[in-house]
Subunit: 501 residues, 2 copies
């Protein structure tokens, strides 16, 4: 999940300087409006990797904003007074009143995360996360706007941040023993964090993931979301004009202002130039298919089902990759389910109903050629799903997929990616080849015109639904040989792992 | 919790006969409207104690309603086909489409409940309940109306139902070995059920508790709620006229039609004539207070805090009972917090904030003279809280109190009850006694005029918030001596239990 926020996003000094005045004015303006009209509190939580700039961001925001309308709290070990009361007591005491903004560092997510890194006790973690979700839901139901920022660094960036700090006499004191210990625990820390972020990223109070490497970028990102979220809520309440709020009012945009600052996505970091020579391709494909056939017979015997999801840009080569997988298997053991528009009967049910229907019996391999992810891709972009519907779909899909993998199903999701130019070339080829022309529709051209929007939606989808139990695999699709071999080999590796369990 | 549904509610044969025609017509009418205009499915779940009439009720509803628009499913052990898929697969497959009603027996609550009775594994139970809550929330967010009926019998009623069935040649086959085993496990069954009902009684899909002893009563109760809930939802959507639904639309009334059928409450089963002679009163009060002082010193030393909540009808004698408790303790170890209207500052926070503020340090005893329960009593009835606010308060209060008791706090909630006539007598006495007249306000007379509504609200409050960790104790308050001694002795018993842990 966190690989979508380690893209090296940056903002130059000049760009930063140019943006800051308007941003500061905007923040002050929203604070003033909030004080005057806002019958709700704003609760801003900061969590994340040490060294990703949580404290610096909070300090800067404090400098930029009106301190009389702002409360900032950072928590360390509970005092006597505090530990004699239930754990949430100190947080409740500090909650901002209506019309105010409260910024919280190391608040209610801190102890559950650190304890889980230390003891790995899932039961305790789940109970605490339930309590947190209930508390946040209670506050949101009462009107609170809760913004949660997860500031992230990858392991190397964290290590080098530490070294730089240790070498700087003015900063060395920040490098504590505990910080060093946490660095050594980076992987477990991130694993626990992923569980926490997924479990507590609700429609009412989603996490905003922030790339923490560049201080200018992360500041603009956080401050922009804060300003926009408060502004949106105030505008919305104004428009209601005393009416009762609608069911969708508590939903928050996932990324409000980030694309304005720096529009890079996961796909910009892909190396689409990778290729496979014909000879190596043939060898590896053959070996991969043989291995796949063998592994799947073993999985079949053990009753382990496999579900593969293929999504990707139009003409990215999904069909070709799918055929390389299915042709390695016995026909009766596998099935390809192409997903098009829902039938009338399907439309009369929850959108996940039709996918539940198609779940295979034990031991089968099923390929979904397009899938339930249509909800957050085409349905989102074409307006077939309402804002509220596609926004809540991330959590719905995560819980659907958890049902599947909890049952022992091997689930892999492929995103096949090509470049804008490559798609154009393939469209042209289809147009000009009589027996391929049927594959190209008006809709394809329409989707193509919205390339950047599709990329952003796919980026967000991968960020919000790539879990440990059901990961997304992004496949570089320009070279078809490379893509096919990577798909086949990925399935083999996943089956091998499942069989070794 | 379940003691509020074992009141012996009954409907006579004549009354039943008179009500049925309108009820059946109403059900058919709503089915037809649902088919024509209802862009949502209705999911009706039946669970509860064996012998409480689940199957009979479903059968009768099937007879009364249009079978073409109705799906009924009862589940036993999963088939091969079913166990090769995730547990929810078979339920998803059977979900009714929009415009239809589906009735489910022994569905998704069945295995979690029976497994927990058998193995007592809280971790597994909690995980499964989380999944259920997520799934129901997903369906409701998509528009589904979910009605959940818990049909209840107390242990004696269940046992005699069994004996009657066993003695009847036509029914004896219904008495299975498993049924007999479950009867032996009645207490654990009810304990697990209480956890499940509390945890899954959400604002979107609350449980309706149904007294199962009298077949006519339970039929009218269930059928009435079904008809009214569907009608309400359809009327509501009609009124919206294509507008987006509001945040409160998914909330369900807790008891829609029950009071019409039979207005008995918990308080009608109280024996308010209990008394204590002056001599016994003096002895027991003195002994109780000494014991309380001793126990509280021990609790103080161990850092165990005690929270007492006193609620009750006006002039029920809360103050007198509270003083008998506090006078037994060192003044610096205890505190009485009278709750009146919130201050301006308190109004600018979530309504629970002011109660969090007052949580005592370790080892203290704190009495709330009126409390957070104002939300579901006076605020509900006087309209100070919106419908959505007081309805969701039950779950909020349960989770607040769980925070307290999880921290080791001893929490007891007293409801002091007097009769209508007794209140009038006390009001008159206050009016005519110069040094008591200040105690009597216009508001008291206004509340008095709504006696029956207060009783129903208090009944519902006790049903929804009496948990194992934080039980309600109903105190018969007509005889003040009896009430005081019972209060003191109840606190003693709770402290003794806590100290023995």
């Amino acid at each position: 999940m966190f690989h979508t926020v380690t893209l090296g996003r940056k903002v130059s000094k000049e760009d930063f300087k140019q943006r800051v005045p308007a941003l500061r004015q905007g923040l002050l303006l929203q604070q003033a409006r909030l004080k005057q009209h806002g019958d709700f509190p704003v609760i801003v939580l900061f969590a994340g990797v040490d060294g990703a700039g949580k404290a610096q961001t909070v300090n800067l925001l404090n400098e930029w904003m009106d301190p009389r309308l702002l409360v900032t709290r950072a928590y360390s070990a509970p005092s006597d007074e505090e530990s004699e009361r239930p754990p949430f007591w100190r947080f409740w005491r500090d909650l901002p009143r209506n019309g105010r903004i409260g910024m919280f560092l190391s608040a209610w997510y801190s102890a559950p995360l650190l304890d889980h890194v230390r003891d790995g006790d899932d039961t305790v973690l789940n109970r605490r996360l339930d309590e947190i979700v209930e508390m946040e839901r209670m506050l949101v139901a009462d009107g609170a706007l809760i913004l949660k920022f997860w500031m992230h660094l990858d392991r190397d960036a964290q290590a080098s941040r530490f070294e730089r700090m240790a070498a700087d006499p003015l900063q060395a004191w920040r490098v504590t023993e505990e910080g060093r210990r946490n660095l050594a625990l980076y992987d477990s820390f991130v694993a626990s964090a992923e569980t926490i972020v997924h479990r507590t990223s609700t429609g009412e109070a989603p996490w905003h993931l922030v790339e923490g490497t560049d201080s200018r970028y992360r500041t603009l990102h956080v401050a922009g979301i804060l300003r926009d979220a408060v502004e949106r809520r105030l505008n919305h309440l104004e428009a209601l004009n005393g009416d009762a709020p609608r069911a969708t009012d508590t939903l928050q945009p996932d990324e409000l202002s980030a694309p304005e600052i720096e529009s890079r996505t996961l796909f910009d970091t892909l190396d689409l130039s990778v290729t496979l020579e014909q000879k190596e391709y043939k060898q590896r494909l053959k070996a991969g298919q043989e291995r796949l056939g063998r592994l799947h017979r073993a999985a079949r015997a053990r009753g382990i089902s496999t579900l593969l999801v293929f999504e990707g840009m139009d003409a990215a080569g999904k069909g070709g990759s799918i055929r390389r997988i299915t042709s390695a298997l016995e026909a009766r053991d596998c099935q390809v389910i192409p997903i098009a528009a829902p039938t009338d009967e399907e439309k009369k049910h929850h959108y996940l109903w039709r996918f539940w229907r198609h779940l295979p019996r034990a031991g089968r391999l099923t390929v979904f050629d397009r899938s339930w992810y249509g909800r957050v891709l085409v349905e989102r972009l074409e307006g077939f799903a309402t804002d509220a519907e596609w926004r809540r779909a991330y959590a719905e899909i995560r819980s659907f997929e958890r049902e599947l993998t909890d049952h022992g199903i091997v689930l892999i999701k492929f995103w096949l990616h090509i470049s804008d130019e490559e798609q154009l070339a393939r469209f042209e080829e289809r147009k000009n080849t009589p027996w391929k022309a049927w594959k190209l529709t008006e809709e394809d051209w329409r989707n193509r015109a919205r390339w950047a929007e599709y990329e952003r939606a796919a980026h967000e989808m991968i960020e919000r639904t790539s879990t440990r139990n059901a990961p997304w695999v992004v496949v570089e699709g320009v070279d078809k040989r490379y893509a096919r071999v990577k798909s086949v080999e990925t399935v083999c590796a996943a089956l091998e792992e499942a069989l070794a369990r």
